[in-house]
């Protein structure tokens, strides 16, 4: 379970998060919607531990652990996964090697047995197939020369292999056509279950037609200004952010 209380954060001395309160119980999928500049990406980076983001107050615990005190890789091993809005290219680094290295690093950190190359490839191929990804995507260099849709699918493949307890999807729908969007949504839905939670950050309602959230939160000016059920996203789509965030009008 992710529990955030009064979380404040800034970047270069500029306050972005102004006291976030949010609870995502185990097994639930929550959506965070908000206009540009509301702090959506900052929230995902603060939770995953990116450098340059200063926590000014509040707490964030995940499964009872104070994640803000942990290194990014420790958070990953604890089961936190961030699907990047802009997946990063790693020239010369083979995708399969990268994934296996990451998976085994996490398994090692958790005291689990590592997978050998054969076990890993079997697993990776099966997941890739399920996500309608061609096998050669595993052989290519990480995100190098990938189309926007391929990059996002690669994020979902990584998520499927790493089996996180909490996935944060940072505008994973941006730049996706409807087919790619469905594949991504299917990938997330396949993981849904009692031990998987997700925080789906998005600007648009569209993604939430495919990943139906348990709760929807509206983020504006670094605060959650409204929470509700899936219907809230529809209301937002109809009336725009202005109804909830007067200043954004």
């Amino acid at each position: 379970m992710l529990q955030i209380n009064g979380l404040k954060a800034s970047i270069d001395g500029k306050s972005i998060l102004n006291g976030i309160d949010l609870t995502v119980p185990q097994g639930e999928v929550h959506a965070i919607m908000g206009p540009n500049g509301s702090g959506k990406s900052t929230l995902s980076y603060v939770l995953s531990g990116r450098e340059g983001y200063e926590v000014d107050g509040g707490t964030a615990t995940f499964g009872g652990q104070d994640i803000l005190a942990m290194e990014p890789e420790e958070r990953a091993a604890a089961g936190l996964f961030l699907a990047f809005q802009y997946p990063v290219e790693l020239p010369g680094v083979n995708n399969a090697n990268f994934l296996r290295t990451a998976l085994n690093a996490q398994r090692r950190a958790r005291g689990e047995a590592e997978l050998d190359a054969v076990q890993f490839l079997k697993l990776a191929r099966a997941e890739a197939k399920r996500l309608s990804m061609p096998d050669d995507m595993l052989k290519r260099n990480v995100n190098v020369g990938f189309s926007g849709g391929e990059k996002k699918r690669n994020e979902v493949l990584q998520m499927a292999l790493l089996r996180p307890k909490l996935a944060i999807l940072d505008e994973t729908d941006s730049g996706l056509d409807i087919d790619a969007l469905k594949i991504v949504a299917d990938g997330v839905n396949a993981l849904r279950g009692p031990t998987f939670s997700a925080l789906v950050i998005t600007h648009y309602q569209r993604l939430l037609d495919h990943i139906v959230p348990d709760r929807v939160h509206i983020l504006a000016q670094g605060r959650i200004v409204k929470s509700g059920g899936p219907e809230l996203a529809h209301a937002l789509e109809a009336g725009g952010y202005a109804a909830f965030v007067p200043e954004a009008a």
Partner: protein, 499 residues
């Protein structure tokens, strides 16, 4: 298998810190007194029962050396080297001269074991028992090793398999005794004694090294490998390697180095000469990880090497692949003289410097024959306070119609205290030549590191992964097992360079 994963495993295992292979072996040494003069050269020559012509050759080289001065054009700084303060000859004390590993000092064998170079070395040691023509062990390629322990080669394996193919692979001191006509014909024919200061010094005092002769039309049945170790206090190492590939032959030669940790700087000045005749191919791969000095820049090996290949025949090919992670100072320019028409020269290099290491390395491609082709791929990685220079020359002779060169120099900076420099020289005297040069300089981006760490990799593992990716074009040129070792080295060499 995915070597990157194994690289990271190894980093985990090797993080106790310090130079992993920094130990010395306690073996009785026989040493010449310090200093360099004609008498020392006579002593070396006498200890090795050399013929008169070789002694004369050494003395002539010494006379040339005395008139020369150390080159100063490289981007390197070091205190002056006192050439009189070195031992020029050291040998493990031996009874008669071991014919097999059984006769080798057990302490020496333990040293090899401690070196722990995983796959190959163990295969070789295990393979010695049934080495007489025994088939290769499963899927593992056969490797023959000529081990140089300080100045004297003490163990040579797989000799009989090679002998059946007509391949000669032995210490050069042995070749002087057994095949004097070959040594005399080719020694100094690629790197003449007066080529440069360090080559002249080597010619005067070289103690041992490898000799390889591949007869006409023979594809050498295994990869040939030499391990060098510098093991005696204040002993300058002057290896001399000579490889001759006759018409239509092929050989792949591997050279790897480790050295014990020392406080004092140690001088190394090797010379390697390669000769390739019509349609012959020589692939020469090096992984160099000599002691680089401590994190303050104290100690470390001074490595001044002259390596040159001569494509004498038409359609011959010489490839240099090097992964340089060690030494306090590296001065090294493996080169190709492309004399035969349609001959090909290649240079693939990774040079990694950390802490206070300095590397000035690159290549020379001299195009003489028609339609000669050369490729240069250089990857320089600088971390800590180190300085890393690529220095390369591409020269197209007037007669070299249709010659082509492609050069790519990439530099990767880690941290903001290090330096990367690229100094390409291009001289073309033929208007039909085509030359391309590409160069990039980059830093490891924060978002790349964060991306890897978010997936569970430690910062150091992430750097190792990104660096190995950066070097991939070169690493893929190495024989498989050597590539695995090289990847580990790159990761280990970068320990402590981030954070």
């Amino acid at each position: 298998m995915p070597a990157v994963a194994e690289t990271l495993d190894t980093v985990q295992a090797a993080t106790e810190g310090g130079y992993k292979w920094g130990f010395s072996t306690d073996i009785e040494m026989e040493m010449a007194p310090k200093g360099l003069n004609e008498d020392i050269i006579r002593l070396i020559s006498a200890r090795k029962n050399e013929p008169q012509w070789l002694l004369d050759w050494r003395l002539a080289a010494y006379a040339v050396w005395l008139k020369m001065t150390e080159p100063e054009w490289a981007m390197l700084n070091h205190p002056p080297i006192d050439y009189q303060d070195l031992h020029y000859y050291a040998a493990p004390k031996k009874k008669a001269g071991p014919k097999s590993l059984d006769e080798v000092d057990p302490e020496l064998l333990r040293t090899y074991e401690k070196l722990g170079i995983p796959l190959r070395e163990r295969a070789i040691l295990a393979g010695v028992e049934g080495a007489d023509g025994a088939p290769a062990d499963g899927d593992r390629p056969q490797v023959a090793m000529d081990a140089v322990f300080d100045s004297v080669s003490v163990a040579t394996t797989f000799k009989s398999t090679l002998a059946k193919a007509g391949v000669i692979f032995c210490p050069i001191s042995e070749a002087v005794q057994e095949h004097p006509e070959l040594v005399r014909k080719y020694l100094g024919s690629v790197v003449p004694t007066n080529d440069n200061y360090f080559a002249a010094l080597n010619s005067a005092v070289f103690t041992d090294g490898s000799f390889v002769y591949i007869p006409k039309g023979v594809r050498c049945p295994m990869e040939l490998s030499t391990y060098f170790r510098i093991n005696a206090r204040n002993t300058g190492q002057f290896e001399r390697t000579l490889i001759i590939a006759e018409e239509g032959s092929f050989v792949s030669y591997l050279e790897g180095c480790t050295a014990p940790q020392r406080d004092e700087n140690q001088l190394h000045a090797a010379v390697v000469e390669l000769v390739a005749f019509d349609d012959a191919q020589i692939k020469y791969s090096t992984v160099q990880n000599w002691y680089p000095g401590d994190s303050e820049g104290k100690g470390g090996i001074y490595n001044f090497v002259t390596k040159r290949g001569h494509c004498r025949g038409a359609r011959s090919k010489i490839s240099w692949t090097q992964v340089e992670t060690g030494s306090a100072i590296t001065w090294k320019y493996p080169s190709c003289v492309l004399q035969g028409d349609d001959s090909v020269g290649e240079f693939y290099s990774v040079a990694l410097t950390n802490n206070y290491q300095q590397a000035d390395t690159g290549t020379k491609m001299i195009h003489i024959g028609k339609r000669t082709k050369s490729t240069i791929v250089s990857k320089g990685i600088s971390a800590g306070h180190s300085n890393n220079t690529y220095r390369g020359l591409v020269r197209i002779d007037r007669r070299a119609d249709g010659a082509r060169n492609f050069t790519q120099c990439d530099s990767l900076l880690i941290g903001d205290q290090c330096g990367a420099h690229t100094v390409p020289y291009i001289e073309s005297r033929n208007p039909t030549a085509k030359l391309e040069h590409e160069a990039t300089t980059s830093k490891i981006a924060e978002d790349q590191l964060f991306y890897c760490r978010q997936r569970g990799l430690s910062e150091e593992d992430a750097v190792g992964l990104i660096v190995n990716g950066f070097c991939k074009d070169v690493l893929k040129e190495l024989p498989m097992e050597f590539a695995v070792e090289a990847q580990k080295l790159l990761a280990i060499s970068l320990e402590g360079s981030v954070g």
